[in-house]
């Protein structure tokens, strides 16, 4: 009983936080509550949202991927290179970049599943490997690409940015996978107890690799969107991107120890992080504070999760 109530609190918390944040910013920041600004929030955070959706799966698995920022940099470079020098149609570029991302992700997944390695160590290693790769590709010259396709950049239908709709669609699809597909159910099972999942005949290694591959593919999509919006790749493109993604998922109530979490929670987490970053910019606080705020929120989210868990562990006799 206590557990059920706890679950509800956990699920509601993010929306209460988000509402409080919206109200506070609306009062404190005059430019906040305008269609233009809110549209910007969505355009700027669509990539974050898409990657966070897939990261939710990886964290429910009981894993994590801290290399998504570096991957984003490499894939953004690939996007720019394909469009500027290869003169390819958008769809082909999108296909190649997403496929490459899936490949990179499945490499991460394979190291975790087959190399029997803790995900954070494996992907920390890969963070630096991909960063080096990007550095080599970049070669001292920033890569500029022409505005690729407006609909993946800042284009809006009325006041609604197209990328926002894309992000929503990704969330809808993944939420349905989480609930209504074998793959999604298996992810939860693996995150609950790898051994028990194996006992139930679930192909644990394939699911791990699959979830990482999905994450990589969506990083690819985010990379194309980033290029469509920003149009330039530098050596540090994508740096610290992973922090926002992981923060959004954890603040959204997905448990760092795996087995529990939801796409809807992550959506709330993404909005919270995006609005927070926007608020920091609007209020004139140096953007350097972004990292401080996100780091602190990650710690608060995980800390309260752990403390709640411990309390409920005492209250519910096994």
């Amino acid at each position: 009983m206590v557990n059920a109530r706890l679950e509800r609190i956990r699920r509601l918390a993010i929306w209460v936080l988000l509402a409080a944040q919206l109200v506070a910013f609306s009062f404190l920041l005059p430019n906040f509550l305008t269609a233009g600004n809110l549209g910007n929030v969505i355009v700027n955070s669509a990539g974050l949202a898409i990657v966070a959706a897939a990261m939710t799966f990886v964290i429910i698995l009981g894993c994590i991927d801290v290399s998504v920022g570096s991957m984003l940099g490499v894939l953004a470079w690939l996007t720019g290179w394909l469009t500027t020098t290869q003169d390819m149609p958008v769809v082909a570029v999108l296909g190649i970049v997403v496929a490459t991302g899936a490949l990179m992700g499945s490499l991460n997944g394979s190291i975790v599943a087959k190399g029997r390695m803790t995900a954070i160590i494996a992907t920390l290693g890969m963070l630096f490997v991909w960063r080096s790769v990007l550095y080599g590709l970049w070669g001292g010259r920033d890569l500029f690409a022409p505005p690729l396709v407006p609909w993946l950049g800042g284009m809006r239908i009325g006041v609604v940015p197209v990328v926002g709709l894309i992000a929503l669609a990704v969330f809808a699809v993944l939420a349905s996978v989480a609930k209504r597909r074998r793959f999604g159910r298996d992810i939860y099972a693996v995150g609950n107890d790898r051994q028990a999942a194996r006992l139930n005949g679930i192909p644990v290694d394939r699911r791990i690799i699959g979830a990482f591959a999905l994450l990589g593919a969506l990083v690819g999509l985010a990379a194309v969107m980033q290029m469509a919006r920003v149009g330039v790749v530098q050596a540090f493109t994508g740096r610290d991107f992973e922090l926002g993604v992981i923060a959004a998922v954890l603040i959204g109530g997905t448990s760092i120890t795996g087995g529990r979490g939801s796409l809807s929670g992550t959506l709330g987490g993404v909005l919270f992080v995006a609005v927070l970053q926007n608020g920091i910019v609007l209020s004139g606080v140096p953007p350097l504070w972004n990292g401080v705020a996100l780091g602190a929120f990650v710690l608060i989210a995980v800390g309260s999760d752990v403390l709640l868990e411990r309390r409920s562990g005492q209250e519910v006799p096994a």
């Binding site: 994590i64 954070i120 290693g125 140096p286 401080v292």
Partner: protein, 323 residues
């Protein structure tokens, strides 16, 4: 009788044997492709590139050894932040030596905060220190405004980072070797060291013989933070500037060195001497790459591969995994 069986231990499978062979192998290879590097004076000189990261790897080894997924990914950021605090103190008129003390105390406090999150609140070390990695790193940027702070040319302070004693870098002789000697002695000869191994072997068993895993972990994070502070002092002395990103990426190197040295990522198994040897493998590798014109960013990529490779190797050798 007992000594006979000790010597019968499988020396060949010992990680330290492997690292020693690796070092010799690298020397042979480098003496072929870049003979200029493999000269005694230069080999001694390049050790200074490993002193700071060696300090961080020392703390890392202790924390990983203590088990339960212990790891400190915030050491690089703690180094940056301690260094900036020292820089600000000097700018504010504090004499340089007391400011160095402030840097070390700052490191200890940052470590204590990690220890609080992990040992008291109960956040998994991986995610807790990833959080503080960003927190401390961003704070270093924020309080310095993103700018480097320079000017410590007084009272012989630069000697720590730049001087030599009989051609040996002072930071190696006066900082790194004493630090390893002291901690190595603590590990081998005192109850403190034994406690690290006991807790790393299992919290419950250790508690039942009267140890306090929580207290131990808390202090180990403080030590790790303190060593990061000490690393900041060395860096500031060497470069004569405090840079807000001075330690970025060091956490990877520190973890890599500890794991490469044979410390099992699950705790309870590993030796400080392994970490020490692994440190020199990494120093020599980086120097070799540098010498052949390979850029620093590539070096960290190679290190990333080395980290993954060494963990997978550990798992394969011991026939078990992390999961």
């Amino acid at each position: 009788m007992t000594s006979l069986s000790v010597s019968a231990r499988p020396i060949l499978t010992d990680r330290r044997t492997m690292l020693a062979l690796l070092l010799v192998g690298m020397l042979v290879v480098f003496s072929q492709i870049s003979p200029a590097l493999v000269r005694p004076t230069l080999l001694v000189d390049i050790t200074k590139f490993g002193v700071v990261v060696g300090l961080l790897a020392l703390g890392q080894t202790l924390i990983i050894l203590s088990g339960r997924g212990g790891i400190d990914l915030s050491v690089g950021s703690a180094l940056s932040l301690s260094g900036i605090v020292m820089g600000l103190a000097v700018s504010a008129g504090v004499p340089v030596w007391p400011a160095a003390g402030i840097a070390i105390v700052t490191g200890v406090l940052l470590g204590a905060f990690n220890g609080f999150l992990i040992a008291v609140v109960g956040i998994p070390a991986l995610i807790g220190t990833v959080g503080t990695l960003f927190l401390y790193g961003s704070l270093a940027l924020v309080i310095s405004g993103g700018r480097a702070i320079s000017g410590y040319g007084e009272a012989g302070f630069p000697f720590i980072g730049q001087g030599t004693v009989l051609n040996v870098p002072a930071q190696l002789l006066l900082v790194l070797l004493p630090a390893y000697a002291v901690v190595g002695w603590l590990m081998a000869r005192t109850r403190f060291g034994r406690t690290i191994y006991e807790v790393g072997n299992g919290d419950r068993a250790a508690r039942l013989v009267g140890r306090s895993p929580r207290a131990l972990r808390f202090w180990l994070f403080c030590i790790s933070g303190g060593l990061a502070g000490l690393g900041a002092v060395v860096t500031n002395s060497w470069l004569q500037t405090a840079r807000p990103a001075a330690g970025s990426g060091f956490e990877l190197q520190a973890v890599t060195i500890a794991v490469l040295g044979g410390t099992h990522i699950f705790g309870g198994r590993g030796r400080l001497s392994g970490t020490f040897l692994a440190l020199f493998v990494v120093i020599l590798l980086n120097a070799g790459l540098q010498f052949n014109g390979v850029d620093q960013v590539w070096q960290s990529g190679v290190l990333g591969l080395l980290l993954i490779g060494s963990v997978v190797l550990n798992n394969l050798l011991s026939g078990e995994g992390d999961e």
